[in-house]
Amino acid sequence: MGTILQMREITKTFPGVIALDNVNLSVEEGEIHALVGENGAGKSTLMKVLSGVYPHGSYDGIIEFKGEECRFSGIADSEKRGIIIIHQELALVPLLSIAENIFLGNERANGGVIDWSQTFGRTRELLAKVGLKESPQTRVTDLGLGKQQLVEIAKALSKEVKLLILDEPTSSLNETDSEALLKLLLEFKAAGISSILISHKLNEISKVADTITVLRDGSAVSTLDADGGNVSEADIIRDMVGRSLNDRYPPREPKIGETIFEVKNWTAHHPQHSERKVCDDVSFHVKAGEVVGIAGLMGAGRTELAMSLFGKSYGVDISGEVRMHGKAVDVSTVNRAINAGICYATEDRKTYGLVLDDTIRRNIPLANLDGIANGIVVDENRELAVAGDYRQRIRIKCSSTAQEVINLSGGNQQKVVLAKWLFAGPEVLILDEPTRGIDVGAKYEIYAIIAELAKTGKAIVVISSEMPELLGVTDRIYVMNEGRFVGELPTKDASQEKIMSLIIRSGHRN
């Protein structure tokens, strides 16, 4: 069998970031090719290049599919050639039936009139192929996630798929559904369909993959022959994280004091699937002047934990206790949490952090309007002074504090978010992915601010998917996986390998 896909010297840059650097990937006909790497290693970007989301011309390099060079200008082009991608967030219309979803945009019709008998008949065939016993008329919203995943695959099959790309297909599935899905992939392989499988679950990968390509920092660092399961997880992990820490982090001398912030037995349930625990009996503490990291993969429940702590902004049926200086405090609304001295800077600053169309000086005092007002009357002089002060202290680069935050760079937007929370006067600052999407220089400045804050005795929690970042800025690291804290390490003893293996070992237990 020959090579079905060749991606050669793919380079893709975003302003200030090289997302992919000369990546080569080749997939044989009828193989399952696994793509692994840390969050941000470039897996999704590579797949977006392949599927035409980033059209030809927006990247450098050559894509050859079945021996022909391809220049996709959009996802429709790549689908026409038989390259189908199934994203982590499923692209189904919940209120339409299975059959309608499968043939959406590709309807079985004569002159615009839908041929329902052909639609349902064909759907039944496809559902049989993926082993889903449901009526074609069932609404997608009435199916569990595992079955929805199968509908997506059936949809892919309806388009004469040659190469199936699955992005974290099992991340939200339970054990049985995951097994079934993997079995299906093996059946496809027997039928000659190639697949690319992106996954963090190394045990699954070593079970089904023929070849493994490891991406790190936008480069393909190794391609391992996994046929017959002769690759150890340790090898994969080493290749995934094996980069050196240079001085990308400001030096600091931690001065750690008393425990300020304590969380005990914190449990929260998913707002839609109330039987699912997003945080399961989590306990931790942070001391004055200490920077504590929470490591974990995407979907581990870190953001959910932080948001449920911050005014119960996420989740239902929340239980547990929060203590400040040993005394239990009420964090049941955001306002109470802020008053208790807890602040949370979100991972998604555009959606949850900033009023984008408003100015810097009006964003900064938003969490503490009383701090710039006499009674209910805003004192604009004080507002101006506060904004000017933070602009200087944390070096927000702008032409004036009257500039709208939407026009700032990511790093400067993040600084405005930090300024907002600093002005609220917290003792505990929870920073969720504080450097997501910002360039290296701005990252350093954010780290410097974190170090500075710790020096003034604040307790800081950093949630990050970038392990080097956690190793670079924290004093102690908690490891979270599937809603639970599965390990705690002093940063000086920690390494990416140790963290990764804690995560993976806890995954095996399920």
Partner: protein
């Protein structure tokens, strides 16, 4: 006051730095704020010419104010509702309903009209609160809740009035709309009290404008070029002095103008200078971020609707007093005029953007067009078409400006 507000809001917006071409870039950035004021002036000039000067005659100016008072009063509440990211379609029906209640209480039950007025305002606030409750706490789209309210209160108006018109009101109640400031100085044919009041307003306005300009000077690179500042203030001051003089030579300031001016001042102050105002803009700009900043967004939305209900009730009293009767048809379609005024005034459907002064100017643009076209004898058919096109144009102008910026 009004001038002060425009300057405050413009000071909050950025402009590219650099001294060369500062005026040009300032115009570009503030096209909308000047544009709408210039549009009002242009429209007034146009009708002044084509109606042979009838438009600005004292008696017609008085009429113009009386005719538009209820739209302006409701536009103040609507601005808050729209800035918070919602809409209220029920205000016309609520206006009619409250007018009907007032008629039943005052005319049929012989209740004291002040007491009845207070009860009506409370009922208006309650109606707004009820609608706001579903919108804020149950997250039911405001479009649907207030559409339902529109039907419900239209029906209740018919029921309360039993399909009949109820009137007339006692003289004291009518004075809300048809009364004028007393002529305490006793000069025949000239209401000196009104004139003095008008001049005082202009003086206060100029002091505030100068103070705010002086205070903000240098603190922002967004300083309005001196020519603009003085030109704009001169035009505004001259306009107010002229209107004051014209009204004084007729019968003086209508009572409702005083009420309106006070409300405009209060709501301008709330939106530009208070923490509550800040919060409302923040909710409309990004509800999620605002909630995560510790602001009780639900209560805020609830209160904007309660406030809207109260202002609709006040408008209902003014309208009933002006007609001197409550009719089942009162308020029909008023919500559209009010909403149009707010959007012409530069508010954004998405929320977070808009000013009180803009909404008031928007209401006057609609009012002057109504009035001018009626004087010219243009049929109601063409009037509707022209008003619709003006609304569309204003919003297209907004979007065009935004895309270019």
């Amino acid at each position: 006051m009004s001038q002060d507000v425009i300057h405050q809001s413009s000071a909050a917006k950025p402009a590219p730095s650099g001294t060369a071409g500062a005026s040009a870039s300032f115009i570009r950035k503030h096209m909308r704020e000047y544009g709408i004021l210039l549009a009002l002036i242009a429209i007034m000039a146009f009708f002044q010419i084509v109606t042979d000067g009838i438009l600005l005659k004292p008696i017609n100016l008085t009429n113009l104010i009386l005719q538009n008072s209820y739209v302006i009063i409701m536009a103040l509440g609507m601005l808050l509702v729209i800035v918070s990211g919602h809409i209220d379609l029920s205000v016309g029906s609520v206006l009619g309903f409250v007018g009907a209640l007032a008629a039943v209480m005052i005319v049929q039950w012989d209740m004291n009209y002040i007491l009845a007025g207070v009860i009506c305002l409370a009922i208006g606030a309650l109606i707004g609160a009820l609608q706001g409750y579903w919108i804020a706490y149950w997250k039911i789209p405001s479009f649907i809740v207030t559409l339902a309210g529109m039907l419900v209160f239209k029906g209740l108006t018919l029921w309360v009035l039993a399909g009949q018109s109820v009137g007339p009101f006692p003289r004291g109640f009518q004075l809300i709309s048809s009364g004028f400031l007393p002529d305490v100085f006793g000069i025949k044919g000239f209401n000196l009290l009104s004139m003095l009041l008008g001049l005082a307003v202009v003086a206060v306005m100029l002091v505030f404008a100068l103070r705010s300009r002086f205070r903000n000077r240098g603190s922002s690179h967004d300083d309005e070029p001196a020519l603009f500042f003085f030109g704009r203030n001169f035009i505004l001051a001259a306009a107010i002095v002229y209107i004051t003089w014209a009204l004084s030579t007729f019968r003086g300031f209508p009572n409702v103008l005083v009420v309106m001016a006070l409300l405009i001042a209060v709501y301008s102050f709330i939106t530009t200078r208070t923490t509550i105002g800040r919060r409302i803009y923040a909710v409309g700009g990004n509800e999620k971020a605002t909630r995560l900043s510790g602001i009780n967004t639900e209560r805020l939305v609830f209160l904007t609707f309660a406030n809207m209900g109260m202002l609709a009730a006040l408008a209902g009293l003014v309208f009933a007093a002006r007609l001197n009767t409550a009719t089942p048809k009162a308020g029909l379609g008023f919500e559209l005029d009010v909403i149009a005024a707010v959007f012409i005034g530069g508010a954004s459907m998405a929320g977070g953007v808009g000013t009180i002064i803009g909404a008031v100017i928007g209401a006057f643009i609609m009012g002057v067009m109504n009035n001018g076209m009626s004087i010219m004898g243009i049929g109601i058919d063409y009037q509707q078409v022209i008003k619709g096109l003006v609304l569309l144009l204003a919003v297209i102008f907004d979007v065009y400006n935004k895309n270019r910026a």
